[in-house]
Every structure is written in structure tokens, then in C-alpha cells.
């Protein structure tokens, strides 16, 4: 083996190159690339039978999925029959979603309150000196029979509301209200703007409309109302969160 000094003196002479050492130097300078193995020709094992069998089963499964796709390339069909979700197993028809009594009556009442808001204002404040307020009014918060008669027949003054006396006449604005509308508007004005009244049910309103019919019409006066109509309309009370059916306006029977 040539020692390093003689190699340095005659660097170009092939005979003196130590081949293994040169290779070692090369492969160490190549780092990891030097030690890696070459890729070989591919093996030629046949595709095994079990793989073909399993593939066939998978193709069957794929075909089953494909078979659900309807007429293949049928551009006219868009959605598979029966893909839309079926009817609820509980309700046969469209389910009616029950609503809480107070919220429902307030919402319905607010619609018809537009008949009142021209004078009494959307805020229920009335107009000082001419139109009495509904907010904080003892006529609104108090007994319901006299309130219904005022709305159904109108009133002629003088009338004392919330400490002030008004002499304006009120027309029979609610003359065409049925029991539902009457109940809803009464509930709305009795529970809005800080008022503390409770719910008036359609059943109560129907009784009130009967009383008004027997009375025979004509504007009411404050004395008449105080004398003979200062009482609550009879009927079962509704709790504010009682669930009612928005179509029939009847309480929904508790299911469980």
C-alpha cells in the first residue's frame, strides 16, 4: 500500500491509487447517498387469487351502490324517489307547533291594535288633555268587563283616567272584533307598556260580547260602567306559558 507522501508526489499515476480507499472517500463524501441500496427489477409475482376474489366482492358492493343511482346517465331524473325525509312518525299531518299563550296573544293583539294606535299612540301614552293613556290606566289594568264594553261600544265622557278627566268621545272601535281578536287586543294592552293585567282568553271575551249584546248598544258612560259592569269576565285563566294551538286558539293538552 502506498503511503501518503509518495501519493502526493505522483498524484496522476493510476497504479498508485488505492481503489478501496478512493471509493471510501467518495462514498463518505456522498454521505447517505453512498450507503443506499439500488432499486432492483420488479418482482413478477402473479396477482393472487384471493385478491381477485375480494376485489370481485368489493365490485359487487360498488354495484349495489351504483344500482341505487336510478337510470344511469338519466339526466331527467334529479332526485331519487323517497330520498326526501318521510313524515314524522308522531304526527300524521303537518305538525302544529304550539306557542306560549302570552307571547301568542300579544303578537296577535298587536296586529289589531293598529285600530287603536291612531289615537292612543303605539306607545299607549294617549295625547295629554284630549286622549286618555292606556299605559297605567286603571280602566285597562282593572276589571275586564268594563274594558270590553268600552272597546265594543265606545264611551262618552267625562271619564277620569290616571288622575286626569277627559271629555272626548270614543267611537265603537272594537264593534267588529270577534272573541279571538277582542281577547288578543285586550291581552296586548293589559300586558304592554308596564301594565300589569293578566291574559283575557277568547272564552272570557265571548262572555263579554254576550253581555254587551244583551245591554243593547249605545255608548257607555263612566257611571254606568262603574255601577253595573265593574267585574272580571268569568272563565278559566291561562298561565302566560300555557301552550296553545295557534290554529284553534285552544290550549294544547299536555302529552306526557
Amino acid at each position: 500500500m502506498a503511503d501518503s507522501s509518495s501519493r502526493d508526489l505522483r498524484p496522476d499515476l493510476d497504479e498508485t491509487i488505492n481503489v478501496p480507499e478512493a471509493h471510501a472517500a467518495l462514498s463518505s463524501s456522498a454521505g447517505a447517498a453512498g450507503r443506499e441500496k439500488s432499486l432492483r427489477e420488479n418482482g413478477m409475482e402473479p396477482v393472487t387469487l384471493y385478491l381477485i376474489v375480494i376485489s370481485a366482492i368489493i365490485v359487487l358492493a360498488g354495484g349495489a351502490v351504483m344500482g341505487q343511482g336510478g337510470a344511469f346517465f338519466g339526466y331527467n331524473e334529479l332526485v331519487k324517489d323517497g330520498y326526501m325525509r318521510g313524515k314524522s312518525p308522531i304526527a300524521e299531518e303537518d305538525p302544529v307547533i304550539p306557542l306560549a299563550a302570552l307571547a301568542f296573544l300579544q303578537k296577535e293583539g298587536q296586529k289589531n291594535y293598529s285600530a287603536c294606535s291612531g289615537c292612543h299612540q303605539p306607545s299607549g301614552a294617549g295625547q295629554p288633555g284630549s286622549i286618555p293613556p292606556l299605559a297605567g290606566s286603571e280602566w285597562v289594568n282593572g276589571n275586564t268587563e268594563k274594558l270590553l264594553l268600552i272597546m265594543h261600544n265606545g264611551v262618552q265622557g267625562p271619564i277620569e283616567v290616571a288622575g286626569a278627566t277627559y271629555s272626548t268621545q270614543m267611537e265603537a272601535i272594537g264593534a267588529n272584533f270577534g272573541p279571538k281578536e277582542m281577547a288578543a287586543v285586550m291581552t296586548y294592552i293589559r300586558t304592554s307598556w308596564g301594565n300589569t293585567g293578566d291574559i283575557v282568553t277568547p272564552e272570557m271575551a265571548a262572555v263579554g260580547l254576550d253581555i254587551s249584546k244583551q245591554r243593547g248598544g249605545g255608548k257607555t258612560t263612566a257611571e254606568e260602567l262603574k255601577k253595573s259592569h265593574d267585574k272580571m269576565l268569568p272563565g278559566a285563566k291561562w298561565a302566560p306559558d300555557l301552550l296553545i294551538d295557534p290554529e284553534t286558539w285552544a290550549p294544547v293538552a299536555a302529552e306526557e
Binding site: E21, H23, A24, A25, L26, S27, S28, S29, A30, G31, A32, A33, G34, R35, E36, K37, S38, L39, R40, E41, N42, G43, M44, E45, P46, V47, T48, L51, I54, S55, I58, V59, A61, G62, G63, A64, V65, M66, Q68, G69, G70, A71, F72, F73, G74, Y75, E77, L78, V79, K80, Y83, M84, R85, S88, P89, I90
Partner: protein
């Protein structure tokens, strides 16, 4: 026949190391910036997952709203990490297999930097509320043009290398690489045109976007991962690929099925009825290429269990291949007609996406990175413990995400179908599993910390200078320069 190691052909060694040298800057750039984006994507994934069971989490930050952070997470994962890891793998593998040095390093590096800026810009757009809102195509339209141009500038050279290679055998990996290189622009341009340019039906555009998502994975990321697996398994063990026929079968099965997948997301939507069912059937049949590749590669390394366990690259790659088979089974199960109802609007689809993208593609990419980086930096990995931590945490993380998402998604799907129950019950059922997914992203975050740190040390050329690889053995050396890892003495021989 017995001895085919490279010491026999010094020409091959010289060529291989000159190819590695020529590619060291772009490949290292793609891997390191990809790893950084992976860290970002995982943090976003944690937040996105947490939002699903704790909606008020971080809701002081409008940039991290639930929909936004989900989109940002997936975009960073796919285009920040996935695409860049794929670029690194593609250009390196194609150069090695075509035996050509890379002569366009400058262009590739430029395009790589622009790609990163475009992804950053796209993420900012998404997070400021200006994303496109199309899944996997969340970047606004202009960004896509930049990304596509960068894609061509990065990958065209690999096609050129293949074209000018010395005549001869085309290796299995090259089929997959060529497939990935050619399919991606086709899928991407088609989808961009139909979603952003043509004034078509909006439902159909949604279908095309779903097709883009399915095919981008099956026809770009997956082939890249399989190319690396077909390269590394024979390379590290020194055995030939088990069966050429099986490789052909698996490749063409994937090439045939891949383009059909994707639209299964739109079952029941008003598009021609056969489209979603064809997509579902393709996803059922994907088990066939999965089994072919799985059998082929596992048979190649069969009997070399110790090598697989000790080599970082092969351990990751083999796990990725096993998970590909699992992906095939899961895909079959989730796309049968009875289970599609449960999976369409639930976590399950996310579980399958993550299994494919993290379990199959990313694990194979990690395997490739552990193989390639020592070659291009000419330094060995510093710590086998870091690699082990990375491996086990990744595996547990992916497994937890997939198990939680698939099982949770099934119960969630049943909840959605059950009309007699309020909607909240469904969310309650799923939320426990949501916690599991969040925890699993935590695993992956820790795993990636090990990986990122290790890769950055290698990038800073602080790896071991040794001619012995870092193997996952308990006692591989007493010290970094111990008996096994002697110091690389280049130059001292002739000095």
C-alpha cells in the same frame, strides 16, 4: 445478485449525490416551509375543532369565527403543508428516478417563495372574511391563478427530466409521479373554470367543488404518497417490489376510480341523480387499489420487520400504507347506501378526510422527509427519540381523530335523521366526540413540535456528521460521535 449495494458502482453514487446536491435548496425549502405551515394548520385545527363543541371559545376574535377558522385550517393544511411536501417529494423522486440533476433550481425556488406568499395572502383573505366559501377552494379567485402558475414553474422541470431521461424502464413510482403531475392541473383548471368562471348552475358548482376535493386527494396527494412508498420500501430493504402486475393493477384501478369520486357529498341534491351515486360507488371501490398497494408494499417488506421498525422512513411509510388499506375499508363502509344518511352531514366525512390526508399522505411524506433530508443536507438526524415521539404521537393523534369523528359522526347522523328528537340532542351527542377530536389535534401539535424542531436543526446544518444513519434503536450510540457514528473525515484521507 446478492450484493447490490452502492459501493459496487461508484458512478451511481456520484450521480446520486450530485442529484441530491443540485436539489438541496428547493427540496429543503419546501419541507421546512411545509412543516411550518403544518404547525399553523394544526393550531387552526385545534381552534376549529374546539369551536364545534364550545362555540363561545375565542369568540372575541372575529378572524377566528367558526366558519372562517375551519376554512383557514383546511387551506393551510392542504396548500401550505400538503402541496409543499408533495412538491419536495415529486421533484426529488423524479430527479432520482430519471437520473437527471436539476438545472432549474432558481426558478423552482422563486416559484416556491411566491407559492408561500400566495398561501399567506389567501389565508389573510379567508380570515378577513373575503374567502370564496367553496370547500378546499377557499382562497379568492386571483390567488388561484398565482398558485397554478407557481405549480407549473415548480413541477414542469420534473416532466422535462422524465422526457429527457436515458431510455429504459419506467419505474412504478414514476407512473404515480407522472399521474400526479398531469392530473392535478386538469382537476384544478376544470374546477376553477366551473366554479369561478363559467356562469353555471350554483348547485352544480357545489358538485364540481366536491369533485375537486375528492379528486385532488385521490389524484394528486395520494399518488405522490404512493410513489414515495413504492420508492422507499424496495430502497431501504433492498428487495424488489413484490409484484409488477399487482402494481399495474393498483395504479390503473386508482387512475380509473379517482376521477369519479367526490360528488357523493351531494346525495339528494338536485343534480343528476347518478352523479352522487357514481361518486359513492367509486369510494366503495377505492378499497381495490388500497388493497393492491397494501399487499404489494407489505409483501415487499415482509420478513424485514426489523428494518421497518428501525428505519424512520420505512416505519412512517409502512404505517401510511397500512392506513391506506384502513382508509379503503372505512371508505367502503361509509359510502354504502344505508350509511350515507349518517355520514353526509356529520363528522364522519371529516374523519375520512383526515385519515386520508394525515394518516396516508402525511405519514408517507414524513417517511420521505426522513429519507431525503439526510441525503440533501449530508447530515444525519440528531435524535432517534424525537423521531419516535413524532411517530407515536402522530399515529395516536390520527387514530383518535378518525375513531372519534367516525363514531361520533354516526351517532350525530342518527340524531339528525331522528325527527322525533330536538336538534339539540344531536349536537349534544356529538359534542363529547368533538372533545376527543380537539384532544387528538393536541397530540398532533406536540408531534409536530418534535418534527419541526428536528427539521429546523437539520436545515441549520446541525445534524450529526456521520456515515451511520439514525435508526430507531434503543442504544444506537453512546454519543453523537460515539463508536457507531464516527466523524465524517472527508478530506483527511488525502490531507
Amino acid at each position: 445478485m446478492a450484493e447490490t449495494t452502492s459501493t459496487a458502482d461508484s458512478n451511481g453514487v456520484a450521480l446520486r449525490s450530485s442529484i441530491d446536491r443540485s436539489l438541496r435548496h428547493p427540496v429543503m425549502f419546501f419541507f421546512t416551509s411545509g412543516a411550518a405551515w403544518l404547525a399553523v394548520a394544526i393550531v387552526l385545527g385545534l381552534v376549529a375543532s374546539a369551536k364545534k363543541h364550545a362555540p363561545e371559545f375565542m369568540n372575541w376574535c372575529s378572524w377566528l369565527d367558526a366558519g372562517i377558522v375551519d376554512a383557514a385550517h383546511m387551506s393551510a393544511l392542504v396548500y401550505g403543508w400538503g402541496a409543499q411536501a408533495a412538491f419536495g417529494m415529486i421533484i426529488w423522486l423524479m430527479a432520482r428516478l430519471s437520473r437527471k440533476e436539476c438545472t432549474n433550481v432558481g426558478t423552482i425556488l422563486w416559484a416556491g417563495h411566491i407559492w408561500n406568499l400566495a398561501v399567506l395572502g389567501g389565508l389573510i383573505c379567508i380570515m378577513s372574511g373575503n374567502g370564496s366559501g367553496v370547500p378546499w377552494m377557499e382562497f379568492p379567485g386571483g390567488i388561484w391563478i398565482i398558485l397554478l402558475l407557481c405549480y407549473f414553474a415548480i413541477t414542469i422541470w420534473s416532466l422535462v427530466q422524465f422526457q429527457v431521461r436515458d431510455a429504459g424502464h419506467v419505474y412504478v413510482s414514476q407512473w404515480y409521479l407522472l399521474g400526479a403531475l398531469l392530473w392535478f392541473p386538469w382537476v384544478c383548471i376544470t374546477a376553477l373554470l366551473f366554479v369561478f368562471v363559467f356562469d353555471g348552475n350554483a348547485v352544480m358548482a357545489t358538485g364540481i367543488a366536491a369533485w375537486f376535493k375528492g379528486t385532488t386527494f385521490l389524484l394528486f396527494f395520494l399518488p405522490t404518497a404512493l410513489a414515495s412508498a413504492y420508492y422507499l420500501a424496495p430502497k431501504v430493504t433492498g428487495r424488489p417490489v413484490y409484484s409488477y402486475n399487482l402494481a399495474l393493477f393498483g395504479f390503473w384501478a386508482l387512475a380509473f376510480l379517482g376521477p369519479w369520486s367526490g360528488m357523493q357529498k351531494l346525495v339528494g341534491a338536485p343534480i343528476p341523480q347518478f352523479l352522487p351515486y357514481a361518486g359513492a360507488a367509486a369510494m366503495v371501490l377505492i378499497l381495490i387499489p388500497a388493497m393492491s398497494v397494501g399487499v404489494n408494499i407489505l409483501k415487499t417488506v415482509a420478513g424485514y420487520g426489523e428494518v421497518v421498525a428501525e428505519s424512520p422512513s420505512l416505519r412512517f411509510t409502512a404505517s401510511g400504507v397500512v392506513l391506506f388499506v384502513v382508509y379503503g375499508f372505512l371508505s367502503l363502509t361509509l359510502h354504502l347506501v344505508p350509511s350515507m344518511k349518517m355520514t353526509q352531514f356529520s363528522y364522519s366525512g371529516y374523519g375520512l378526510d383526515i385519515l386520508g390526508f394525515y394518516g396516508v399522505f402525511s405519514l408517507c411524506a414524513f417517511g420521505a422527509i426522513y429519507f431525503i433530508v439526510p441525503r440533501i443536507t449530508r447530515r444525519e438526524w440528531l435524535s432517534h427519540r424525537f423521531i419516535k415521539w413524532h411517530f407515536f404521537l402522530s399515529l395516536y393523534g390520527v387514530a383518535s381523530i378518525v375513531i372519534c369523528a367516525v363514531i361520533g359522526g354516526m351517532t350525530q347522523g342518527q340524531g339528525i335523521e331522528d325527527i322525533s328528537q330536538p336538534f339539540g340532542t344531536m349536537a349534544e351527542r356529538a359534542s363529547q366526540y368533538g372533545w376527543g377530536v380537539t384532544l387528538a389535534w393536541g397530540f398532533l401539535l406536540v408531534a409536530n413540535l418534535f418534527f419541526c424542531l428536528h427539521l429546523l436543526l437539520m436545515w441549520a446544518r446541525l445534524g450529526r456528521r456521520s456515515s451511520h444513519p439514525t435508526l430507531l434503536k434503543a442504544h444506537h450510540a453512546e454519543s453523537p460521535h460515539g463508536p457507531e457514528g464516527e466523524v465524517d473525515n472527508i478530506g483527511s484521507v488525502s490531507a
